[in-house]
Symmetry: C2
Subunit: 591 residues, 2 copies
């Protein structure tokens, strides 16, 4: 009997990156966690990207070399002594590796720069504050001395939000500023320091009886894809959303109170759930992305931990229109909302079925036999939560609406497969990057009226580039609209080429009338589009607040939220592409 030749599958680099290497910084999350493209995805990538096995035999730009660059700290000995006098000697460093490791977030342009050994926009020192009081002193010192201040929370920013483009200090919150400040089971709130990590908070709440002497177990309800490497402070300052936000709400629904240290003093909102005492202080500060001041304490709502009431579902629809209509009807049904809730377009469904192991199974055979064709069919998945009867009813109502729109129930197995990988997809980018492949995402907020236009126009642009995957889904739903999320993959490792493509997508998101971000925030990356979207008079409000809180522009300066963005970087929504090169904005920080 002749054996089939074994199919080639790349020899992915699944070793811990060398200590002190560029790769150890660009790597997502756990140094010993990896996620290779599955064999199915590998085959698909070769097909779509027009590549052969030979293209996957040699890795490049792996960043295995030790971090070295020639960009010394500008701080004087005295300045370093002054900082050490505030936070202690152990909590200030000018070490090159430490400085680079807080300079970038985790967007594609960050990973590309690290692979190419580009170390730019570095802080002059990394500082590890221990308390609110430390931060009060640091802000006073930096303001008196006009030293720029940046904050590094979980480090998962995908908007260049943390990047210290004007140097100065970067406050790394992970090390010392991550404690529980107060817990009230009665109020169902917890107050934490801004550097508290997502998983640690969830662990504390799940184990509240043991750790906090509580009667019950709780959950934070906020699980962004970056959850494992995100911080509570980052959630709030960017106006983030977790994957379960359709039920638990976006971070602005979860935050009850915040404390910020600004150059003009401490701003603190009260802990009443709601009031009518003028504009909301919380909502004025949330979304300021470090440009008004430094978030120190956050009081969050907490929720009962009831995983036993989680009911998983998945449905396949014959087409995108019926899937979207059903999703809208579900969100407008007034029976409560599902928790995780996603609807994938035909391209994402097709790829997802391969990734989740549905393709070519008996389920797939039945689907095809019943006319759910690959390339047209769309997957909806999610789960319900809350009190048992409530959760059960949401599931039943969803079933009824899905059947009405001709969907076939495909069990909770698909959902479990998605859940299993929900926080692990970012690891894919390391293996892909080793072979010059790019995987990135952009998201925007739409209402039901403009959603289909945005979907079509943006996808049309994405797909105008040959050999490119563009998976699209809706998630984070509301009765009035949803988040629309684009995942694109291509063979692309040149920064300029990448930026031109990315800029084109953002131009088209804006042109089609969507809001430029639903939950990633603006940072420095999307800043050129902000004014075109929200309007000049509206942006002036932010500029006025900025000047009020931070007259010396020391708080996250260098284009964040377009507050100090040079005019020539601005992209309006009319002649958007003409005469404007796609490039990483550079700022004159001496102004």
């Amino acid at each position: 009997m002749k054996r089939k030749v074994e199919e080639f599958y790349p020899d992915w680099y699944h070793e811990e990156a060398p200590a002190g290497s560029w790769r150890s910084i660009l790597k997502w999350g756990d140094p010993n966690e990896f996620k290779a493209p599955s064999r199915a995805l590998y085959r698909m990538m070769k097909d779509v990207f027009d590549m052969t096995d030979d293209d996957f035999k040699e890795k490049k730009e792996m960043g295995l070399e030790k971090v070295e660059y020639d960009s010394p700290s500008h701080f004087t000995e005295q300045q370093l002594k002054d900082l050490a006098a505030i936070v202690g000697e152990d909590n200030v460093t000018t070490d090159d590796y430490a400085r680079l490791s807080v300079a970038y977030g985790k967007t594609m342009i960050d990973l590309m720069r690290l692979r190419k050994h580009i170390a730019e926009n570095l802080p002059d020192a990394v500082v590890y504050p221990r308390s609110h009081e430390d931060i009060v002193k640091l802000v006073k010192y930096c303001n008196d001395n006009k030293i720029p201040m940046y904050v590094y929370g979980g480090g998962s920013s995908v908007t260049r939000g943390v990047e210290p483009v004007c140097g100065g200090v970067s406050l790394d919150m992970r090390k010392n500023f991550n404690k529980v400040v107060r817990f009230s089971e009665h109020n169902q709130t917890i107050t934490v320091e801004a550097g508290m990590s997502g998983p640690r908070l969830e662990e504390i709440l799940n184990h509240a009886p043991e750790i906090l002497h509580a009667k019950g177990r709780y959950t934070c309800g906020h699980f962004p894809q970056s959850f494992e490497y995100s911080s509570v402070g980052g959630w709030a300052v960017t106006r983030g959303a977790g994957q379960n936000s359709s039920y638990y709400g976006k971070i602005e629904d979860i935050v009850i109170s915040q404390t910020y240290v600004t150059p003009i003093g401490v701003i603190k909102s009260d802990e009443c759930p709601r009031n009518a005492t003028g504009p909301s202080i919380d909502q004025i500060m949330m979304g300021s992305e470090g440009t008004f001041g430094i978030l120190t304490h956050v009081t969050l709502r907490i929720f009962k931990y009831m995983p036993e009431n989680r009911f998983r579902f998945s449905y396949v629809f014959k087409d995108w229109d019926s899937a979207v209509t059903a999703a809208r009807e579900i969100m407008q049904g007034e029976f409560g909302y599902p928790s995780v809730f996603r609807v994938s377009d035909p391209e994402e469904t097709s790829i997802g079925f391969r990734l989740y192991g549905v393709a070519d199974t008996p389920i797939d055979t039945v689907l095809k036999a019943r006319g759910y064709e690959d390339g047209k069919r769309c997957l909806m998945l999610g789960f319900t939560e809350g009190e048992r009867h409530f959760s059960h009813n949401v599931r039943r109502r969803i079933a009824r609406i899905c059947h009405k729109y001709g969907a076939m129930f495909t069990t909770g197995i698909v959902t479990k497969a998605w859940e299993h990988g929900r926080f692990r997809d970012p690891y894919l980018r390391e293996d892909m990057g080793d072979y010059g492949l790019m995987l990135d995402t952009l998201e925007c907020s739409v209402n039901w009226d403009n959603f289909m236009d945005v979907y079509k126009q943006v996808r049309k642009f994405c797909k105008s580039r040959p050999n490119t995957m563009c998976m699209t889904h809706m998630s984070h739903f509301y009765p009035q609209g949803a988040n629309l999320y684009f995942i694109f993959e291509a063979k692309m490792s040149d920064i300029d080429e990448y930026l031109e493509y990315q800029y084109g997508i953002m131009d088209h998101i804006q042109k089609a009338g969507a809001s430029m971000s639903h939950h990633h925030g603006i940072g420095k990356m999307t800043a050129p589009w902000l004014e075109g979207q929200i309007g000049s008079k509206e942006l002036d409000i932010y500029r006025t607040l900025k000047k009020h809180f931070d007259p010396n522009n020391i708080m996250n300066p260098g284009g964040t939220l377009a507050l100090d963005l040079p005019d020539e970087q601005r992209r309006d929504n009319k002649g958007i592409l003409e005469g404007k090169k796609a490039e990483i904005p550079h700022y004159d920080c001496d102004d």
Copy 2:
């Protein structure tokens, strides 16, 4: 057989107020609607207020006289011509009656002034804008000429919010600025002009198939007690809440987008349900109470109209502690929230039972027999809404929790009685005022941790005055807290005496740590307490925004939101009463 002498019951004045009279302005709502204290309440008032039938034989300060005052408009002929050129001649008036009728809202101090023929703080002209464009022109004209601008929406302000203390123009929105601008059944939103009245909006939505060619019927979900005489614009600028807000949300949950005309230009937020594009423009503008600019268009969420799914409930608890604990558990149960939801304290329950006709019925007998004692027992009432199964489940969960805390079900009859009178209580004040009786309310926002302190301390002060009723309830609930609402009644018709009492209550609300308003707003009345509550740095944020939008201070000047409140009017939360007389603040408008 000897007949019992018929019990005396006052001869209430239930006639339409004379045209052009002071009473026609102080009267609530419909000129032909009246609500007299029931016989039970009448007996109770005599008892508590230490009055006899004789005290109810002669009415005084009824305001039946024709409005006359000597306070001519300061506008020149040219100015009036200029205004007429913008809005048309028919839409500008300097008529004394028209000017007085938009000068006050409906708080106790307003009614007292009208009864005493005090006409102060009048506008120099009343203008009736017809469109957004009219308002753009009016704002430009007034800003160029430094003419103060006030807005009169539904006229139901209880915070002196509308009062034109610096003269100028008052824009009466009711007449011409009340149309539907856009309706999207797909988005489940409606956009209206700010002068749209509550009942008209609800009528349009309930009859959406006939009026808007919609497929379904809708509700606005926002029903403040002032509903019948409130406007959509007023709901938004004050951060109001309807009685059904535990289910439908407070106005900031319902508003999707707003357009404001400010002296520096038009501010408009986008119509996406959520975004992460910097601080929320909607939340910065909402709560500005006319001090940043004039709200012209509001886009609101709408909800399915399903009265058939409304399940009414009422329960009686043995005491306040168990009622409050049950309410908290209901709000923290994660099975959805009831719509209307109220828990009355023992005093309000006692009075409510008389008003709703429960006292001395078989239900009352059973209650007493089972140990639910008058003076200790507490009433919880409400109803559930939404999709049928959802609504049903909320009702069942509530039942289970109430039984756990020893409550007795008292059917939906009590709730129906409350519903029947829900919008009619304000009419009571006319009949009471005729006999020198005061009925007023104050509200505040609390979290569960500080709620009992606030309740006890404020009530202690209220009851320190002899012969005074103080009914208290919680309503507008959240998992983290609730609105705490005080209704006080006494024989009191002297303005200074009234103010001293009211100021004392507000001092105690603040001292106990509550937020100064949950949904009435701040206006000019509560302004002296605002800084003490939210903090000086926090108030400075509002002042900075104010200066940005309105550099000439023409927008609702004269103390609103404490933006231009003289220091000597400010009451801090330490030495609150010392050296400070309780008086209506007077402002120097020439600055």
